[in-house]
């Protein structure tokens, strides 16, 4: 059993008067993929965004409860939110590379956090990150090309490389394959399994097969509650909660 990297305890989220997340507790293990599934509007993305405080930028959002990263509260004043996001990286639903070169996209984070002392070190970080994202072979000869000229799947892997470049501990992925075709999805899924050897990964997905393919643990969200969390095999083959049972059987959602 791997160690626990993040721990959420009784997390509530309110958007104004809307109670979007109603007391979620969860352990996120290291070197492990945790999938969050559930119908639209169930709070899975909201919960994901709590983990690196992306909800801070929504002025009407209010988060209650405790989230621990390696045992310390991420809402603690002593923890800088930019440091938190360096340690808990994020990959978004739609590939969103910056309108810059491939190199500059990956180098953005290391530059931002002053991780490289010189150009050679930066080159090394960029190469490592692109290799980790399985993109190095495809782009090593055109690092100065515009990132927006890559295909959708390549762009998404570039975004993963960008997140990996700042050596995070946890990577959050918000439906990372929903804008990709099946072949690119397959590549990204293999990449996720690869990355899980080093990082804790939390992935939100609408695709139940995807959860089965990549995740060790799956949590089912419904109407702001976490209905059930167990090993992926358990959730899909022997769900305990009737709502989970209906959902994975295709009765709704």
């Amino acid at each position: 059993m791997s160690e626990i990297r993040m721990k959420a305890e009784d997390v509530h989220v309110y958007y104004g008067d809307n109670h979007a997340l109603k007391g979620v507790s969860m352990d996120i293990k290291n070197q492990h993929v945790t999938a969050l599934i559930g119908p639209s509007g169930c709070g899975k993305s909201t919960f994901l965004r709590c983990l690196n405080r992306m909800n801070d930028s929504i002025s009407i959002a209010r988060v209650e409860g405790q989230i621990l990263l390696d045992g310390s509260d991420i809402h603690d004043d002593s923890l800088d939110v930019t440091l938190l996001r360096q340690r808990v990286g994020m990959v978004f639903q739609k590939p969103n590379p910056f309108p810059k070169s491939i190199y500059d996209n990956v180098a953005y984070g290391p530059r931002l956090h002053g991780m490289a002392k010189n150009r050679a070190e930066l080159d090394e970080i960029v190469e490592e990150a692109l290799s980790a994202a399985g993109l190095w072979e495809e782009v090593y000869d055109r690092l100065d090309a515009e990132a927006l000229g890559l295909s959708g799947g390549q762009q998404q892997r570039l975004c993963i490389a960008r997140a990996v470049a700042v050596s995070p501990e946890v990577i959050l992925m918000d439906e990372p394959c929903s804008a990709l075709d099946p072949i690119a999805t397959g590549t990204v899924e293999r990449l996720i399994l690869d990355l899980a050897k080093d990082y804790a990964i939390v992935i939100v997905t609408h695709n139940m097969q995807q959860a089965q393919r990549v995740a060790g643990t799956t949590a089912f969200f419904h109407l702001g509650d976490m209905a059930e969390m167990a090993s992926t095999k358990e959730i899909f083959e022997n769900p305990q909660d009737p709502r989970t049972k209906d959902y994975v059987a295709g009765a709704f959602g």
Partner: protein, 495 residues
């Protein structure tokens, strides 16, 4: 369901469809009609302005053979003057010692307009003497000749003077010169030419009641018949100084001269300079303030009643009549803060900056708001601070939109007249300022107020200059709007 019973094939249904087609056809026709009318008005406007402006860009010239009479300007005086101003001395100057007392007299003789007027009058008396008959006294005859000599512009006298001083002409020779015609004779000659071209035979020349009298008309007709008149573009070359080096020497013409009481000498240069200086002030003031305000309001300001109130008022300010901003400038800047700054381009520019601010803020906010949030989110997700994500990602992506908004604001400022009138930037300026940055704080005039001034004069040549000024201003504004469109199209494709 059989075809007979389908509700879509009933008589009512096909009538309904026919009515709809008719309605849509009428709507399309009305749209085309509106478009056609708009195009017609635009073409009519452009045609009338451009046609009228032509005579503002071209002027009549008269070829004269003038004897530079050494009895009118003494060679010794000229040499003394040349020595005192330090120009290349001519053949007398070698043994001239600059003497302040003599120099004063020399300067009067060389500089005085009457000297050259006299030479012109002598020329007319000599060559066209037979036009002046039937006068009882010589005095009356001289007066009539002097009147006819007025058909040559003051500019020609200055030209002869400057060439004499520089040594290009020498006293005692007879020079041949295409002299600029004065306003009235210019208008008369253009009118003559037009009627000849159109084969209209009429002696009712439009200017007989003005300064060109019967004698002038007959002299001008003889000049015309002997091929000593012509119409040529009179554009000039503005003086261009760069880092202390004079690249182009000033040559008088529409683009190089300041305004003048003589319409043929009036040019747009001083006004263009004033507008240029004001646009610099607008850029320095309105762009940083406007863009920063837009960034703050769009990305940092909390949403509350105060910011809502500000937003409503910024939108309202964009619709405030520009003359109000002029009154603000007159009351606050000129009467209260800096008395005596009336008519300075820096004041005019400040007022135009006030007026442009709402436009810049609104355009910048729209550009910033149109940046996809994904850039910002990506940067935040990487651990960038809010400010870093705005300045490193949102602002660069919004820059083309901001730039085009700024240029449109500047174009609007360049064409604004009312505020200039309120802050005294409609003074009569007959000299192009060449004091560099200090020109910001000397009385100036802008292109719209210069056009306004000329338009108020009923002299036909000033009317032509008005149209020529409008063409210049329109060209400037269209060029600026074109640049804004280009920037927007060019960079929107890149994103």
């Amino acid at each position: 369901m059989s075809p007979q019973t389908s509700p879509h094939q009933s008589v009512q249904a096909s009538r309904r469809r026919a009515a709809r087609r008719r309605g849509e056809l009428i709507f399309r026709m009305l749209g085309l009609l509106a478009l056609g009318l708009a195009a017609l008005f635009l073409v009519a406007l452009m045609y009338s302005v451009i046609k009228k402006s032509y005579n503002g860009f071209v002027q009549s010239f008269i070829q004269l053979d003038i004897y530079l009479d050494p009895d009118i300007i003494k060679p010794a005086d000229l040499a003394q003057f040349q020595a005192s101003v330090g120009v290349a001395p001519d053949r007398w100057a070698a043994d001239i010692e600059p003497d302040p007392k003599l120099a004063k007299r020399a300067s009067r003789s060389v500089q005085r307009g009457t000297s050259y007027k006299k030479m012109l009058q002598n020329m007319f008396a000599e060559e066209f003497g037979d036009h002046f008959t039937g006068y009882e006294t010589d005095r009356q005859r001289d007066k009539a000749i002097a009147q006819v000599a007025e058909m040559i512009s003051l500019e020609a006298q200055f030209q002869i003077r400057d060439r004499l001083i520089s040594g290009e002409y020498t006293l005692g020779e007879t020079i041949s010169l295409w002299a600029l015609a004065a306003g009235d004779s210019d208008v008369l000659y253009k009118d003559m030419k037009r009627r000849t071209q159109k084969n209209v035979d009429s002696e009712n020349w439009i200017l007989l009641k003005r300064s060109v009298d019967e004698n002038g008309l007959s002299v001008l007709m003889e000049l015309r018949d002997t091929g000593r008149t012509r119409i040529r573009p009179y554009l000039g070359i503005p003086k261009i100084d760069l880092f202390g080096w004079t690249i182009a020497e000033q040559q008088p013409g529409f683009f190089a001269s300041a305004s003048s009481t003589s319409p043929e000498r009036a040019g747009i240069a001083a006004a263009a300079q004033g507008t240029f200086l004001m646009l610099i002030v607008v850029m320095v003031l309105a762009v940083p303030i406007g863009v920063l305000a837009a960034i703050y309001l769009e990305k940092f300001a909390p949403r509350n009643q105060l910011t809502d109130f500000m937003e409503i008022n910024i939108n309202n300010l964009a619709a405030v009549p520009s003359i109000i901003f002029g009154i603000l400038g007159a009351a606050v800047i000129i009467q209260w803060l800096f008395p005596g700054s009336r008519g300075f381009p820096i004041v005019g520019g400040t007022v135009l900056a006030f007026m442009t601010l709402p436009t810049v803020i609104i355009a910048s906010r729209a550009a910033i708001g149109a940046v996809p949030p994904s850039f910002e989110e990506a940067a935040l997700g990487m651990g960038a601070s809010h400010q870093q994500s705005v300045f490193q990602h949102v602002l660069p992506a919004a820059l083309p939109g901001i730039a085009s908004g700024v240029i449109i604001g500047l174009a609007q400022a360049a064409g604004e007249t009312a505020p200039l009138l309120m802050v005294g930037m409609n003074a009569f300026i007959n000299d192009v300022c060449d004091a560099g940055a200090a020109c910001l704080m000397s009385k100036g005039v802008g292109m719209p107020s210069q056009i306004y001034q000329w338009a108020a004069d009923d002299d036909p040549l000033f009317q032509n200059k008005t149209a020529a000024g409008i063409v210049c201003l329109l060209t400037l504004v269209i060029a600026m709007n074109g640049l804004a469109t280009y920037i927007r199209a060019r960079f929107e494709r890149a994103n």
